[in-house]
Amino acid sequence: MTEKPKVGVYVCHCGINISSTVDVDAVAEFAEKLPNVKVARTYSYMCSDPGQVLIKKDIEEHGLNRIVVASCSPRMHEPTFRKAIADAGVNPYFLEMANIREQCSWVHEEIEEGTAKAKKLLTASVAKVRLLEALEQKEVDAEPAALVIGAGIAGIQSALDIADAGFQVYLVEKTPSVGGRMAQLDKTFPTLDCSACILTPKMVDAANHPNIELLTYSEVEEVKGFIGNFDVKVRKKARYVDFDKCTGCGDCAKECRVKDRFPNEFDQGLSKRSAIYLPFPQAVPAKFTIDPDNCLFLKKGKCGKNPKCQEVCGTEAIDFEQEDEFVEFRVGAIIVATGFDPFNPSRKPEYGYDDYPNVITGMEMERLVSASGPTEGKVKVFNGEEEIEPKEVALIKCVGSRDESVGNEYCSRVCCMYVAKQAHLIRDKLPDANIRIYYMDVRAFGKGFEEFYDRVRRENVRYIRGNPSEIFKRGNKLVVKVEDTLTSTPLEDEVDMVVLGVGLEPRADMRGVMELLRLSQSPDKFFLEAHPKLRPVDTATDGVFLAGCAQGPKDIPDTVAQAKGAAASAMIPLARGKVPINAQVAIVNEATCRGCAFCVSICPYSAIEMVTVNRFGNEVEVARVNEALCKGCGSCAAACLSDSIQPKSFRDSQILPQIAALGVMK
């Protein structure tokens, strides 16, 4: 039997974060009288070093064996205090936290109610801590491999770093080529490097790296298991082109019966492609893909007498019989680098994006100014009547960002600079054009940003502070209706072209990945990191990390930096070769288990199996938990009619006293 509980209670002021709404001294005084409490103290910052020392000293002096810390959320500092008490020789699981900050002082206003509630929460914590059990931290082997989802610059960078460190990487990309959004960009701000020039070598490296298995035109179907041991299943979609035979010559696309009929995604629909296509000339891998939604043969089963592509392909690479394939492998860590979607300005109909061809998005502008783009770098627009070289150009920032009306309160962080960059590029190509930028604020916070902004302004680009309310057509001109808020002048600005500086949004298809990996979203709907400050690349799912714009808008240097951070974090379990497993696992009381196997049906991790045991000479079936697989969710326990399976630290015998404590204290 364990020794009698001797509880130490530590109430944190958290500066004035707690003490302004909770009378911490009164709470500590109250706690002293609770059963089994030996010591109750307050301190300004329990999580600080002196705060931890205070606890450790008490453990030593008073022989405390159970600790309750009433402070912030256990989601914040539970590991801190676990470690502190473990250092002092107390089992780290003999800790209970009362959340009197996030769930008390920060949400209640009156000191009376804050104090009363803190007392109740503390009573419940003391009730539970007395009944906790010592748990042992165990480890399992970790697979020295990683999965990277998304092969934009973030995914590529993470993959390369991990692969360079000597671990196997599976790099999975949904589209036929790696490269992502960065491949579509023309120049990068503020240095004006050619985006493709700096990206393509990395794309090629990723494809050729001996430790990287590149799976393009593929999607992750299933992820099971846990950190160190994720079992992944990837669907390689059928390209209908034999990957090994295709030489990338392009004869097929030229001969396709529906040649150049479909909007080219890479060019934002500004050019057309065939049903068999290479997304862009520098695509990696340089392998053609048949678009099954548009290919006549795949859609209708017939394409002339014979599909032309098949006829012209010298290597007989076209294979209409091809089916989706599945690849399965095990990895120790996963990096999510799924990127973003540009804001679709159709959601702001007042800007007429759907109505006027000369209202374009920033992404379209990137393609327009790109030498490899549809106009070979010439800035030309169709004003509804004719294709012209615009004389009057307006660029609008914050389209779809900092805008509650479309549900995006956040700043997309890149628009200020890419709009400035595009103004610069337009100036380059159209030296005589009048260029103005409508803005709310200019945020030039990065390295070299402010200098670049100054440079653009000096290039005769006018910055007009005002958020346009409407764009409409008058004659063959577009009218931007706006108030110049610096001079309080209403303007109706006639222009030939408007570039909407659209923001970045979470990907529309992120839900699939969320469900696969049990990730959450932050209020901006991007993936939620484990901690906004201290664990920005981690997620709530151990072993799953975030890189790039999947976590939130960022520019290329930040993306690369975060990708490298994610790679470094992901490599921790891979390099150690072991991962600690959850100690708070479920356990079966085999003496009372009735063998109904409800728990087996429920367990999402297949962590429970039925085994035959000998019960006084009779063979009976009982449940047994595989501790390496159990995540401690406790769904099994809630269904067990005889309470025979219970998650450690969350047993009924530990929770019911909590309920009682909260109920009795009115």
């Binding site: 049906s601 429920i602 000479g617 009924d652």
Partner: protein, 326 residues
């Protein structure tokens, strides 16, 4: 029901080497009582009966009988248990198969198609019991009561047990052998008992159940008779943690009854035994039937029908109702 066939089949099964005993019904010691019979040999089968008085669900004995320690050097007795089942009883067998309480090859199931049994309390109220054991038979659409040599024809509607009026499975859903032809099923009536309670406002419902649970003496007969309450160690008996205090008062009695009913949600096969055995006459059937109906209507699930089914409480459908969620 052909008694000769019943006894002949019973004798054959009870005589089998691989059968430990056969569970059937026999005439009781007085009045309308029918007692469970444990028939260990062919001769014992002579006392078997099957009549409108055979309310007991014998499937409960499949899990009730204690598993004793096997002395060293001896082998456990792994012979089968044979049992006679009505339609409702057979659902208990099926549900036990789902829950692995028993294995299919551990039992021999003799199906008794059942035209419906009487409500014994109602019968005794209308036709007082005698010390001499009475007999009862199905007679066409009616019941035939034979006491002290005197025959009384009683209409089925007058005495049919509520559970039978609502029955949708009069014919056994699982059996190794079926005695006689299946009976024709009938349209289950409205569950007036449940609807009456539902029609009350929430405070009156509480008042109604307070009166009921106040009577509970916590004898646990409802739990013990239930073929699906077969935990060796019931959580409601436990002291650590204490779900329900042992003191007998309205609060604890209610907690006990809620917990009991909830544990049967999606498992109760509506044999009505809990209500029949309650010495305090608590209408337990109403609670169980209410849950069973909701499980059926809202979740499209019926326990004890398909031995391959996923247990209700250990499964879900993505489109389970969630209109109650804020």
């Amino acid at each position: 029901m052909d008694l000769e066939l019943l006894r002949k089949t019973g004798a054959e099964v009870a005589a089998r080497d691989d059968v430990k005993y056969l569970l059937g019904w026999k005439q009781g010691t007085y009045g309308y009582r029918v007692a469970p019979a444990f028939v260990e040999n062919a001769a014992g089968a002579a006392e078997l009966i099957f009549s409108p008085l055979c309310t007991a669900n014998l499937a409960t004995y499949l899990t009730l009988v204690e598993q004793l320690p096997v002395p060293r050097g001896e082998e456990p007795d792994t012979r089968k248990v044979a049992l006679m089942v009505k339609g409702c009883d057979s659902r208990a067998v099926t549900q036990l198969l789902v829950e692995k309480g028993i294995e299919r090859d551990e039992v021999v199931v003799i199906g008794c198609p059942c035209p419906g049994v009487v409500d014994p309390a109602l019968l005794a109220e209308k036709y007082p019991e005698t010390e001499e054991p009475a007999e009862m038979k199905w007679d066409g659409e009616d019941f035939l009561l034979i006491r002290n040599g005197e025959e009384t024809k009683i209409s089925r509607d007058e005495l049919l047990a509520e559970k039978c009026r609502l029955c949708r499975y009069p014919n056994p859903v699982v059996s190794d052998e079926m005695l006689g032809e299946p009976v024709e099923t009938w349209a289950p009536g409205e569950d007036k008992g449940v609807e009456e309670v539902e029609a009350k406002d929430v405070d009156s419902r509480l008042e109604y159940w307070m009166d009921q649970f106040d009577k509970c003496v916590r004898c646990y007969s409802c739990r013990n008779v239930c073929p699906l309450c077969y935990c060796q160690d019931c959580i409601l008996d436990r002291l650590n943690p204490t779900w329900v205090n042992r003191s007998v008062n309205f609060s604890e009695n209610t907690a006990f009854n809620i917990a009991r009913a909830f544990h049967l949600a999606g498992r109760c096969i509506e044999c009505g035994e809990c209500e029949r055995v309650c010495p305090a006459n608590i209408p337990l059937g109403k609670i169980n039937r209410k849950l069973a109906r909701d499980v059926r209507d809202k979740y499209g699930f019926e326990p004890g029908v398909d031995p391959e089914a996923e247990p209700f409480q250990a499964s879900y459908k993505p489109d389970d109702p969630e209109d109650f969620i804020l």
